[in-house]
Symmetry: C2
Subunit: 210 residues, 2 copies
């Protein structure tokens, strides 16, 4: 699969590298495509990865992962060109800078705003609920780590399901894109436990059924 | 411990019965204290349980569990009399009737509103994130079920921690009461997966650390 990464920081860099190593064709983009950090990322990701502008990364890909800081997300998306029919994975969280809450929520969500800013794209909210360290290594012994996603296009969700499964997650469909209103606070729960409440980043959730 | 139950429906009834069976003194209250349903609940809970008015249940108890439907919560609390120094466990969720979202959120929470309506009480948000079927039986084989709580009084949280542990949960402190802004959407995630997305009610989460 051809996957464009918009925002190649901790989350975008980790996911892109692992997908490249799994055999997908990855185009990383950032505001500094010639930086040393980008060269290091390409080196780590291996021969299936290259760097480009965000617009070129989007144009070259069937699947676009958006992993930008929330304040720069709108500008990043509106610069991508025509997204009609593309699968867009929204991994953003609209965090307030002090992690005290969400900048968007309850009656809307970052996922829904992303969909408005990416007309025609098949938006799936995913990869926003755990830290990049868990994306790098989802193994907790015998315990599969749940990864929820939501969106309004069944085929796009199936693609995201497979991409999560390839990284060792236990992916589950949380419903339509409006469920991002729940997955974004769920992400902030992880973030605040990890970074504020003293649990540290090596935490995750298993989804139990009986 | 003397525990008053405000709102003796599925959640309040289940928790009160199990705590009564564990040896605590339980006073159930509802708007119909002489109903057949209340008599059946007292019969199930056994000799450690009795029924009273909400005001009497609160006055007789050190710990008060609030498990009312959200629209009747304010009236229920303001009728309880002096709550100074009481531990108040808020198990409510401000659900919209069609489960499409929360009536309160992002910049406040039901937990914080409950604290405003219960001046002097030590409010702990807890027992709102799983269904009453999980409270009745938290066993998923070898997998402990996480139960998050949050509040601003360390002693009150320790009491709630023990009450959850006695029911077989793996209790964890999610931080101050403002974290109810995250635990309430987490509850709606459980509810929507169980009731809307087709997973059914026999679901829960294990908190993993490594």
């Amino acid at each position: 699969m051809k996957i464009g990464i918009i925002g190649s920081g901790n989350v975008g860099g980790t996911l892109g590298s692992r997908w490249a190593q799994a055999g997908h064709q990855i185009v990383f983009s950032s505001r500094s495509p010639d930086s040393d950090a980008m060269k290091a990322l390409i080196g780590e990701a291996g021969p299936n990865a290259r760097a480009a502008t965000a617009r070129d990364a989007a144009a070259a890909s069937d699947v676009i992962l958006v992993a930008t800081p929330w304040p720069s997300t709108r500008e990043a998306l509106t610069g991508l060109g025509d997204l009609s029919g593309k699968i867009l994975i929204d991994a953003t969280n609209p965090l307030l800078p002090d992690l005290s809450g969400l900048a968007v929520g309850t009656t809307t969500s970052a996922g829904e705003q992303v969909a408005q800013w990416a007309p025609g794209a098949k938006v799936v909210k995913a990869f926003n609920t755990v830290g990049s360290n868990i994306m790098a290594n989802a193994s907790f012994g015998d315990h599969p780590v749940v990864l929820f996603y939501c969106g309004d296009d069944a085929g796009a969700k199936q693609t995201v399901h497979e991409l999560a499964r390839e990284l060792g997650f236990d992916p589950h469909d949380a419903g339509p894109l409006t469920q991002a209103r729940l997955l974004e606070p769920f992400a902030l729960l992880w973030i605040s436990l990890a970074l504020v409440q003293g649990y540290g980043r090596e935490i995750a959730f298993q989804f139990l059924r009986r």
